[in-house]
């Protein structure tokens, strides 16, 4: 269980715009072990989805910089050219459930055929075999086989989302990126999808990267947590530690803004706005909003490791301490 599945080292993804490069992914490193789920949390616009797209290499055309290392099973997939990447990695080893995906099904193609499509492309199966396998995957996610012959409009929102998850699972990938998989769904439907994800990751020994801005929801799956702020990971921590007491000032402030249903607490919000990703300041990017700001913060802090599975990008955790 403890072998490393995905190892990202110094990954950069900048987008070209008229006003200069947007540094959406700015030097990110982290590791996921096989069977573990990483929750990637942060405010909108902090680069969560861009990071996912950089890993699975689903990129727009206006790329300014795209560099770094992504080791999958020890092999650097950044070195593969586009056609090899498509053949060996995308949807074969890593698949993805994109945001608001339940509305991205093709309305005029039957659900079963859409789920079978990745098999026909990536495993060169003939239509009949692919369709049979797709039906098995559909029943794995809790959709009866009869629904394979229906059109997307005949399915409820929750069932469409299950079909999309089936599409990501049908090629037996090792890692599935879930980008806000339940953000458009109702509370009960959302809980159903979370139950499904909990079940299949156990039975298939899958790894997930769960991207969400809903912190309470992220604790439904996370073994590890990465907090992103302005294009960088500011805290990487074990879920058991993180949800009980987050370390980075940004994470800690973020946690105080999460309402709890069962206990009373004092809710607070973070004043100010995150910096623009075009020309972000060379200081610590959270410093202007940070209650613990001190002299050292005018310099961008490195990530400090207090324990083997914890990294915090803040001078408060430097070995020399605060001066």
């Amino acid at each position: 269980m403890n072998s490393s599945l995905l190892d990202v080292k110094d990954l950069y993804l900048y987008f070209r715009t008229k006003r200069g490069p947007v540094k959406a992914v700015d030097g990110i490193s982290f590791r996921i072990n096989r069977g573990d789920t990483l929750a990637l949390i942060g405010e909108s616009g902090c680069g969560k989805s861009s990071l996912a797209k950089a890993i699975i290499r689903l990129l727009p055309t206006n790329i300014d910089t795209y560099k770094g290392h992504v080791y999958l099973d020890g092999k650097d997939i950044m070195q593969l050219d586009e056609s090899k990447f498509g053949k060996l990695v995308r949807w074969v080893k890593i698949s993805m459930v994109t945001q608001a995906a339940q509305n991205s099904l093709n309305p005029v193609i039957k659900v079963g055929q859409q789920v079978a499509e990745p098999l026909m492309i990536h495993e060169q199966l003939d239509k009949k075999t692919a369709l049979n396998k797709a039906k098995e995957t559909l029943s794995l996610v809790g959709i009866s086989k009869a629904f394979a012959d229906r059109y997307p409009f005949e399915l409820s929102g929750g069932m469409r989302q299950r079909a999309i998850i089936a599409m990501a699972l049908t090629t037996n990938p090792e890692l599935v990126v879930l980008d806000e998989p339940t953000s458009a769904l109702d509370v009960l439907t959302q809980a159903g999808i979370m139950n499904l994800l909990k079940r299949i990751r156990k039975s298939l020994n899958l790894s997930f990267i769960l991207i969400t801005h809903d912190i309470a929801l992220s604790s439904e799956l996370a073994d590890k947590v990465a907090v992103m702020y302005a294009g960088q990971i500011v805290e990487f921590d074990d879920a058991d530690r993180f949800y009980r007491s987050a370390s980075h000032p940004y994470s800690a402030k973020l946690m105080t803004s999460v309402p709890t249903l069962r206990t009373d607490k004092k809710l607070e919000f973070i004043r100010g706005l995150p910096p623009s990703l075009i020309n972000p300041p060379a200081t610590c990017r959270f410093a202007p909003r940070c209650p613990y700001k001190h002299g050292r913060c005018s310099e961008d802090p490195p990530s400090f490791s207090l324990r083997s599975d914890q990294r915090i990008k803040c001078w408060l955790y430097s070995v020399e301490g605060v001066d």
Binding site: V187, D214, F269
Partner: protein, 329 residues
């Protein structure tokens, strides 16, 4: 006529809003029963959370209360006056005393209007023409929602604002006519965690400062604990449970409320090891809702011969705690 005490601002009785799906000339007329027999009271200066899933009728109820839809039947009494009563039909005045905060701030703001114009529009509609009064009101409204310094903001356009600032502008627009009641329809569901709390705190401050009544429409039960005095739970066009916030969260009575509460996570690393209990099935179609209690096909306590035949009335199980469920009959 239902009795109203001095403290009650809004009183709704047996309200129905059915949308016609098919005319009944040849064959049966079909209706979507979006709001079906809803009654409640809202006190001055208090906030109520209207909680339900999408399709439960909470937005329709909000719009009907605002006078944007004409109810199919039932009474709406606001500040002692009956709305839609032919004798005192003064919708214009009513709209002046109520405000709406929409869900998607960017969609709710016209992109070609400056902030100044966004805020003067309601004043023009309600015939406030003096430019000094207009300016004064715009300044006051922007200060109230803390879009300051005001002079930096008045000439900006909506796209120049962040999501949180846009939502504050929408609130300023709702407040500019000094309303007595605000309906906030999912005001924070498009916003980030920290900005959510910022906006809800602002709404709460305005509520306290102006003795405003607020109807907070949401599907997110976890925020209701902090920002409302009452919670009403809606299911399939009906209010199934009403109680004070703390009481409802501590001692929920209706099986639907109980199911809903069980599915909402608090941040806790142990969550990942536990599947959650979810009632089977999905909410019913509102054209042909189930006989009897609308939740009975999904309810673990459903009693045959009772719940599937007779619709439960509202029982006051404890003081100020109402549930529409035969378990309490």
């Amino acid at each position: 006529m239902i009795e109203t005490s001095i403290n009650v601002l809004l009183s709704v009785a047996n309200l129905r809003k059915w949308f016609e799906l098919r005319k009944g000339i040849f064959g049966k007329a079909l209706y979507v029963k979006a709001v079906d027999d809803v009654s409640f009271k809202l006190n001055k200066g208090e906030a109520v959370s209207l909680v339900g899933e999408s399709g439960s009728g909470k937005t329709t109820l909000g719009k009907t209360i605002l006078g944007l839809y004409k109810p199919t039947s039932g009474e709406i009494i606001f500040d002692g006056k009956e709305l839609w009563n032919s004798k005192s039909n003064d919708l214009m005045h009513y709209h002046q005393e109520t405000g709406l905060v929409q869900q998607d701030p960017f969609g709710a703001l016209p992109p070609f209007m400056s902030i100044q114009r966004v805020l003067t529009e309601p004043l023009a509609v309600h015939k406030i023409r003096s430019s000094s009064e207009k300016n004064e009101r715009v300044h006051k409204a922007l200060e109230e929602v803390r879009l300051t310094p005001v002079d930096d903001f008045v000439n900006k356009y909506p796209h120049m604002l962040s999501g949180g600032q846009q939502q504050r502008l929408v609130i300023a627009r709702a407040m500019i006519l000094d309303p007595k009641m605000i309906i906030a329809d999912e005001p924070v569901s498009m916003l980030d965690a920290s900005v959510r709390i910022e906006i809800l705190t602002l709404l709460k401050d305005l509520q306290d400062k102006h003795d405003l009544s607020v109807v907070y429409i949401t599907h997110d039960l976890s925020t209701t604990r902090y920002f409302s005095e009452w919670i009403f739970i809606m299911y399939a066009g009906k209010i199934v449970e009403k109680a004070r916030t703390k009481e409802l969260l501590r001692n929920s009575l209706h099986p639907y409320t109980q199911a809903l509460l069980k599915t909402i996570p608090d941040p806790d690393p142990d969550n990942r090891f536990k599947p959650r209990d979810i009632p089977p099935g999905e909410p019913p179609n509102l054209v042909n809702p189930p006989e009897g209690c609308r939740f009975h096909p999904r309810c673990i306590y459903a009693m045959a011969g009772m719940c599937n035949q007779k619709e439960p009335p509202e029982f006051e199980v404890e003081k100020d705690h109402f549930a529409s469920c035969w378990l309490y009959g």
